[in-house]
């Protein structure tokens, strides 16, 4: 697990199946093009990080992948199925989970119930909800197991509002994990975190099962280079470059517009 990004056991591009692929994805609000001809792909188990300055269209891209935004043109394929116009709940059920840039939790519920709701969505068809209360015990146990995996264990019956900010970021991931996704989209998992919390988050992300593909938006270069197999750089709605961390570091255009100031 603890290997630096470039040396991870998973080799990209040879035998793994492509999970997610976008074809010339465009989204415009009037004359403002927030993404323009974006082509990216994620293979099974890949750790793919999208970087780029504010306003580069990263979050808009993720919203298009999970149905929160409808693309103006282009296609999104997941396991070779066109999901371009699918609804968020269908996309989740197909195996793409996501977290949000700003904490997006069930604020009046307990920590456990936040995750249990997501477990219930995964385990029961919607008609299951008409069944007895008994199935809840199993769902609670499953929720506790996920919370343990995400290292949130003490007092799960607390209301969410009593969690620290960093813990709420962790809970974001726990909720997304409950859907048992094959691909997890993380929108700035460390945003607003202290350095110590960021380090914990890196550990947590590393501990996720290696079969799970991650597509992550991130600003913190420490996080980027300690996790990424592949880095895609976005700039004004377009993909500027995409490649291994080494390739990106050597890329002169990337250095010019983005990395330059920080390295």
């Amino acid at each position: 697990m603890g290997l630096p990004g470039g040396l991870r056991a998973v080799r990209i591009g040879e035998t793994q199946m492509t999970l997610l692929k976008t074809e010339n994805l465009c989204k415009a609000f009037g004359k403002l093009e927030v993404t323009r001809d974006v082509n990216i792909s994620v293979v099974e188990g890949e750790r793919h990080v999208i970087i780029g300055p504010n306003g580069a269209g990263k979050t808009s891209l993720v919203h298009q992948l999970t149905g929160q935004l409808q693309p103006t043109s282009g296609r999104v394929l997941f396991k070779n199925v066109d999901i371009t116009n699918a609804a968020p709940d269908q996309i989740c059920q197909m195996g793409i989970g996501r977290t949000f840039q700003k904490n997006n939790l069930f604020r009046s519920l307990t920590v456990q119930e936040n995750v249990r709701l997501a477990v219930q969505a995964k385990q029961g068809g919607w008609y299951e909800c008409l069944r007895g209360v008994g199935i809840r015990t199993a769902q609670r146990e499953r929720a506790n197991h996920i919370l343990e995996q995400i290292q949130l264990t003490h007092d799960l019956l607390r209301p969410v509002s009593s969690l620290s900010y960093g813990e709420q970021r962790q809970l974001e991931i726990a909720i997304a994990m409950a859907a048992e996704p094959q691909l997890l989209l993380l929108d700035e998992p460390t945003s607003g975190m202290s350095p110590a919390e960021t380090d914990r988050m890196i550990e947590l992300l590393r501990s996720l099962p290696s079969s799970l593909a991650l597509l992550m938006i991130e600003h913190d270069m420490k996080v980027v280079f300690s996790l990424a197999d592949t880095i895609t750089v976005m700039y004004y709605g377009e993909v500027l470059a995409s490649g291994t961390p080494q390739e990106i570091q050597r890329n002169s255009r990337v250095r010019e517009v983005y990395l330059g100031g920080k390295h």
Partner: protein, 313 residues
């Protein structure tokens, strides 16, 4: 908290059982409170547990009342069959209206539900040979139960009280069921519910239909209670009253809206016997409640009881 709810339930059953001792006049007021309590609780399921602010809930209450009375007056059909038909029609109407309304949320949802209920109001106003228009429909003969007519105040009250307890029990079970937890999730965070795989529209539709059906139960009982119906029952003012009841009592609990209905009707009965400006007093109470009792009267009492019990431990 564990034993608070059964305690409330037992106390309520005891009170409902003792009410007939208070005489027919009081019993009538209690029955009216219980009927509006059903109506307000059904709206509470939408406002408090699903986060849908409906401003047209009177439609489903009124359809049922009209069905019971119109079937009885025009076709001589027994009130019990009328009740079944009324509740079914309310359910169908709620499903139909819900199909359109759940596509939007917030203020557009509120306006759309109000528009549908005003549409029904106009129909009731104009379709005079069936509804009697503003004059209403008189001459409904109350049905009998075990050979005793519901003209008897105690019998009438017993049926209403039974209906209230059944609806209350149903709602208590519902909000604790997996389905109820989905409604609560939608109230808390609709976007996230979608993102974790719930088809939110389908569940909003379900909540809207259930709430409309329960309002229909209240409406049918109102037909037994009043034996008369006029267009007032479909007017938006009644939908507004129901919202006030929900907020007064507190929307975070199932029982709160029923407490709100009691406060509303008691204020109306007491104040209107002294002067005609009872609406003013309701309004003032509403404003005070919104300013100082954000969880409503019942929510406040439950909160007090919880903290008192917490101190005991």
């Amino acid at each position: 908290m564990k034993f608070l709810r059964p305690a409330v339930f037992l106390a309520l059953i005891a009170l409902l059982g003792l009410a007939p001792l208070a005489g027919d006049y009081t019993l009538g007021i209690v029955a009216e409170i219980l009927i509006y309590g059903i109506f307000a609780m059904s709206l509470g399921l939408l406002i408090g547990f699903t986060g849908l602010m409906s401003f047209g809930h009177a439609a489903f209450f009124g359809i049922s009342t009209y069905t019971v009375i119109a079937l009885g007056v025009h076709l001589g059909i027994s009130g019990w069959w009328g009740m079944a038909a009324g509740i079914c029609l309310s359910a169908l109407a709620a499903a139909f209206v819900g199909l359109f309304c759940i596509r939007v949320s917030g203020i557009p949802f509120l306006m759309l539900t109000m528009a549908f209920s005003q549409l029904l109001f106009s129909v009731a106003l104009k379709w005079r040979n069936v509804t009697g228009g503003t004059d209403g429909l008189t001459g409904f003969v109350r049905p009998t139960l075990f050979g005793m007519s519901l003209d008897d105040a105690v019998m009438r009250y017993a049926v209403v009280a039974l209906g209230f307890v059944l609806v209350l029990g149903f709602l208590w079970l519902l909000v604790r069921s997996p389905l109820g937890s989905i409604f609560i999730g939608i109230r808390d965070n609709e976007q996230r519910m979608r993102a974790i795989g719930y088809p939110v529209q389908r569940f909003k539709f379900l909540a809207f239909t259930i709430a409309g059906t329960l309002a229909g139960v209240g409406g049918a009982l109102y037909a037994f209670f009043n034996a008369f119906v006029s267009t007032d029952i479909l007017h938006w003012a009644l939908s507004g009253d129901a919202i006030i009841m929900v907020v007064l009592g507190g929307s975070a609990t199932v029982f709160g809206p029923a407490v709100g209905a009691a406060i509303f009707l008691l204020l109306k009965n007491i104040v209107s016997s002294h002067n005609e400006y009872w609406m003013l007093w309701i309004g003032a109470t509403f404003i005070l409640s919104v300013m100082f009792l954000r969880q409503g009267v019942w929510g406040f009492l439950v909160g007090c009881a919880q903290s008192a019990l917490g101190k005991l431990k």
